[in-house]
Symmetry: C2
Subunit: 309 residues, 2 copies
């Protein structure tokens, strides 16, 4: 690959405007030239109503960035890969694990890049947390991921539908950090899912997991937290304790603050996407999505109060 990568983005919603557009502008080697969106228009870009039209109208496109809800991700990704485009998948990379596995197979056969982005893995303190843990054994992990859905997901009905993940939409960020910094396989053993009477997707969840070494891992995801928001991972090890907070942007080791940095997750992901395309590489880690699928597979459903936006 020489020259600037020409990219088209599908799904011009909140995450695309808040994160992708500014991050792409900051990244050398990639340029956004087109957008496909049913309702929205991107300023200064070639606009299309659908991916099919964008692929037909932009034959020089090198890469496609998919930011739609997960329920429609697979067909679009398959279409872009079969058209020979490199593909960037917003998280979660698909509505199901088997969809993502099938996309890996298609990307391999096409010889193009497929990148499943897990933005929380690029939070400022995650790398240091990982290297500190590499020489220690976790004894106990506790995850608290509590936020206010009304603040973070206003007017997103798809998130409450079947396949919309519900509270696992933020929760999968915690699982993406967990599976990045703990180097052993992690098995999900059981789960409780609190599902509002008028919704398909959970508003709260409790997970019991275990590391292959035997260390217990507990997680609580809750979408009903008003006031201060909590995105914490606490790990007790044989050599001290770690607290990763603010969604991976702040790290305390044995109580001492090590890193507190602003969120630069999306620019880091676009730098990685450019490198992956240069190397014709695939980077798809299915582990976070697998844990979510497992929670739904074995989870006990508890009906809770109806939720109105």
């Amino acid at each position: 690959m020489t020259g600037t990568i020409k990219a088209g983005l599908v799904g011009l919603g909140k995450i695309a405007r808040d994160q992708h557009l500014p991050a792409i502008r900051k990244t050398n080697g990639i340029e956004l030239v087109a957008v496909a969106s049913r309702n929205a228009q991107g300023e200064g870009l070639n606009n299309y109503g659908a991916l099919t039209d964008m692929l037909a109208g932009e034959p020089d496109l090198d890469a496609v960035i998919l930011c739609q809800p997960p329920q429609v991700r697979y067909e679009a990704a398959r279409q872009a890969l079969l058209a020979g485009k490199h593909v960037f998948l917003e998280k979660p990379p698909g509505a199901t694990v088997s969809e993502v596995e099938a996309l890996i197979d298609i990307a391999e056969r096409q010889g193009v890049t497929l990148y499943a982005s897990w933005h929380s893995r690029y939070a400022a303190a995650v790398g240091l947390a990982k290297s500190w843990l590499a020489s220690r054994s976790p004894k106990h992990v506790s995850i608290q991921w509590r936020e206010d859905v009304r603040h973070w997901h206003p007017g997103q009905p798809w998130i409450w539908e079947a396949g919309g993940f519900g509270v696992f939409d933020p929760g999968i960020n915690a699982l993406s950090i967990l599976t990045e910094i703990v180097s052993e396989p992690i098995a999900l053993l059981s789960a409780n899912l609190e599902v509002p009477a008028n919704k398909q997707a959970p508003i709260g969840a409790e997970l019991k997991m275990v590391a292959a070494s035997g260390a217990p891992i507990e997680a609580v995801f809750d979408w009903r937290q008003t006031g201060p928001q909590t995105w914490d991972i606490a790990i007790e090890t044989d050599g001290g304790s770690l607290l990763l907070s603010e969604g991976g942007n702040m790290l305390r080791l044995d109580g001492e603050v090590q890193v507190k940095a602003p969120d630069e997750e999306y620019p880091a992901m676009y730098r990685r996407f450019v490198r992956l395309i240069e190397n014709k590489a695939i980077d798809v880690d299915i582990a976070p999505l697998r844990l979510v699928a497992d929670a739904f597979l074995c989870g006990e459903h508890r009906t809770t109060a109806a939720f109105e936006d």
Copy 2:
């Protein structure tokens, strides 16, 4: 490995008595010497109340066969692997996909055999169906798996609990055949789950899947079928049609009966287990379980009439 493999079985329930005990007796190279079961006693065998006691009391044991409900499979498998034993897992191989992935990792590090058995793959006509399909492209797949839960699962409350799989307990047999005979990746796109008002696990399910080539795959699982039972997989291809019925034991190609043979699934699995141990090999295909996890992940829950055994 020289000499006869000494095996101990955990979970002396219906499947163990109906299938495992007679199959082990028919198999050269393996001998059942002990049983661990909370309530039941195996005749002519050393009996223990739990796996821990069996491992302590039978130091010469080479292999452990796990036939308990999936909810308690992981901890037992891990314990047996860490004790250096080869492990045979009844289907499903665990309550979650991540559990099974963690067990693969542990077995690899221990250098022992781990075998995830999918008995329907050993039905008489599955091999011929697979080789016939190898030179054809599927255009459409339709699965009907309809049986009477009262007949097949009397007095098994665990099957209705969270993690008990419900109608996916038989349905995963269909998925194990599907993923064996269709050589492309298969993605699960959406599902409907009918869950009795008084249960956690579904009594009926409809799945929409797709092969990587684009061929649609539909499956209906239903546990409310009285009278004749239906376990059919019908495949239209670019070179004729296939109907696999009787759970994989009868095959019709373009309407002509090719194979109709008695069920010899479990003896074939024990012959394979003996060979795997001789070769210190691992045979764990996660694909059928992954499709089930995906159906729960994206499936729409519909509450249906309460079910009483």
